[in-house]
């Protein structure tokens, strides 16, 4: 009998424990239901932001710009250009950037002037530009006959024009406070595309080239010809919205391709192709991660943005 009573008491305790646990669970569930009411209530399915300014969606962007080359070896280039984009959504657009750099916008770097000063002092070439100057037989003149024309500046590789179809994504959007007084709607965008680049480079010459110019020391061998190359382009930038239809856009661009920006014979020779071969060929083109900084003014059409629901 005593055993039965003890069993009953133990069972009762277990029952009480189970009930208490059950009520505890119900209580906990009730707390969660308050959250569920929120999710299934009037805000359910509502957008994170209402009345959002749709700066881009369905608008055309025209951006006149000036692009500056960065970290150049011999000369800096300013490329006036224009970019056209159609913005399919607020975060995706497709467009093309193009620019053209006329001769006055190629500015020599300090190294170019230093090299030319040394070159002029050597007096290796005559007035026609051939290697028959007063000091043509000096060691320095003979060793640089393939690489140095009369005017170093005129043998440098140049970027003449660029056309780059590209896709732009705008993943980040927000606002920036300046001195706690001015608040500017701002976007950060990234772009990716292919760039067609028009170059002016020294003509091929020498025994290892397909050119008719067998020697690279004559003045004809320091002329330049145009060619086009293709490279990937990638970059990022910011849009600072000044008005409903105008944005100020600084952007950084990487456009790698191989070119001979100094007009030098630096490669192609034995034993492993890294030694000069007295020829100017594509072997002398160095693959460079060319960098650009652009400042532009984006004009958006139509001039009024739409506002989301």
């Amino acid at each position: 009998m005593r055993t039965t009573i003890m069993k009953t008491t133990a069972t009762t305790r277990r029952l009480l424990l189970a009930l208490a646990a059950g009520f505890g669970l119900l209580a906990a569930t009730e707390t969660a239901q308050a959250q569920e009411i929120l999710l299934t209530g009037p805000l359910a399915g509502a957008p994170a932001v209402r009345k959002l300014r749709l700066y881009r969606q369905g608008r055309l962007t025209i951006m006149p710009s000036a692009t500056f080359t960065l970290l150049d070896h011999y000369q800096r280039t300013i490329i006036p250009g224009i970019q056209l984009d159609y913005n399919f959504t607020d975060w995706l657009s497709l467009g093309v950037w193009g620019g053209f750099a006329p001769d006055p916008l190629h500015l020599t770097a300090g190294l170019t002037e230093k090299i030319q000063q040394v070159n002029a002092d050597r007096d290796c070439r005559n007035s026609a530009g051939d290697a028959e100057g007063p000091s043509a037989t000096e060691t320095d003149c003979r060793l640089t006959a393939v690489n140095m024309g009369s005017e170093f500046e005129e043998q440098l590789g140049e970027i003449s024009w660029v056309a780059a179809p590209q896709i732009t994504g705008v993943p980040f959007r927000g606002k920036v406070s300046l001195f706690k007084k001015i608040f500017i709607d701002t976007e950060m965008f990234f772009f990716l595309g292919a760039a067609f680049v028009g170059l002016k480079e020294r003509v091929d010459c020498g025994p290892n080239s397909d050119s008719d110019l067998d020697a690279c020391s004559g003045h004809e061998a320091f002329e330049r010809k145009s060619r086009m190359t293709v490279g990937p382009t990638v970059g990022f930038g910011l849009t600072f919205w000044a008005t409903q239809w105008l944005g100020i856009v600084p952007q950084y661009r990487l456009l790698p391709f191989a070119w001979n920006d100094g007009g030098f014979d630096t490669a192609g020779g034995d034993p492993d192709g890294d030694f000069p071969d007295s020829s100017i060929t594509k072997e002398d083109r160095m693959y460079r991660f060319n960098q650009f900084f652009t400042i532009g003014f984006s004009i958006f059409l139509p001039t009024r943005y739409r506002i989301s629901d």
Partner: protein, 326 residues
């Protein structure tokens, strides 16, 4: 059985506060009837208690009072106040009041996400030289800033270059192709006192999914740099040692916060100093050529060592309190 009843009552009492806690705001507006509903639940059986706990999901019928939501419309409430205490009855012309201009202060950025004032910022970073085509000067660095104000800090930074320098192929190509020697320099270390000002901060939404905060700062300072020329023109005779020169610096950077004490930084800093370059002239007299006074160019050249610095910022203490809750 008595114990069982007590136990059940205790369990139900535990359940009731949980129900109320989910509906704090509505309690004040609850009518006695609504409260009665709760009492009814509390006084019910086990089954009834369970139904009461889940009652939040039930859709009340038309005209039913919703517990916690206030059963009377606002107008009736005012009428009741006026009836009980005419002096306390509001005498405002609500239409007239509604036409008044709002003078509400709405802050575009309501609170600075990560406060800086009276916090110390530890900033280890890696620096990469951006404008020297001939010798790369990468190296680690560390900065420490103490923010006196929300937007103003004083601090120090240190760069270490010596083991990391490397000469570029471009240097050899130019020397070989044009036979032009360009004086080269290598760096040892650089230390500065700095003042940092944060004029701009903001926040971005990423992919309409998450928000990150960032700020933009400008920095300026002065200190010392230890450098020496690399003997290029006459390496047989010239053995240069490191010398310390005064330097100034200016920079601009951005900080992206991952949380309130940890951020990533990206900074451009220009360290400006007067460099003693190797002389391009070499005397044919061996005695003169070995005289250190003839090794340097006469005029020091102003050198800009532009660095890209990227790293992290750790703000100490990790936590802080806002003066105002909002």
């Amino acid at each position: 059985m008595k114990k069982i009843r007590i136990g059940l009552l205790a369990a139900v009492m535990c359940a009731i506060p949980a129900l109320a806690s989910a509906q704090d705001e509505g309690e004040e507006g609850a009518t006695p009837a609504a409260g009665g509903g709760e009492e009814e639940t509390a006084a019910g059986t086990e089954e009834g208690a369970a139904d009461g706990a889940a009652g939040g999901e039930e859709v009340p019928g038309e005209g039913a009072e919703i517990p916690g939501m206030g059963a009377e419309p606002a107008g009736d409430g005012l009428a009741a106040i006026c009836q009980i205490d005419p002096d306390a009855c509001p005498k405002l012309d609500m239409e007239k009041e509604a036409k008044k201009d709002l003078n509400e202060k709405i802050y575009a950025v309501q609170q600075i996400y990560a406060k800086r004032k009276m916090r110390f910022e530890l900033n280890p970073y890696m620096g990469i030289g951006m404008n020297d085509q001939y010798v790369q000067h990468p190296g680690p660095g560390v900065a420490g800033n103490f923010y006196l104000l929300e937007v103003l800090a004083i601090g120090v930074n240190f760069n270490y270059y010596r083991p990391f320098k490397s000469e570029s192929d471009f240097n050899a190509d130019v020397r070989r192709a044009a036979r032009v020697g360009v004086p080269l320099t290598q760096y040892d270390w650089n230390a500065n006192f700095n003042i940092t000002y944060v004029p701009s901060y903001g926040k971005f939404a990423g992919f309409s999914d998450f928000i990150f905060h960032w700020d933009l700062y400008v920095v300026a300072g002065g200190g010392a740099i230890s450098t020496k020329p690399i003997a290029v023109i006459d390496p047989d005779n010239r053995k240069f040692g490191y010398e310390i020169k005064p330097t100034g610096n200016v920079g601009v950077g951005a900080r992206v916060f991952f949380n309130r004490w940890f951020a990533a930084i990206l900074e451009f800093r220009d360290y400006i100093f007067a460099e003693d370059l190797e002389s391009l002239e070499v005397s044919e007299d061996p005695d003169i050529a070995s005289d250190p006074d003839t090794w340097y160019d006469e005029d020091p050249e102003i050198t800009n060592n532009v660095q890209l610095q990227f790293g992290v910022s750790i703000f100490l203490p990790f936590s802080f309190e806002y003066r105002l809750p909002k």
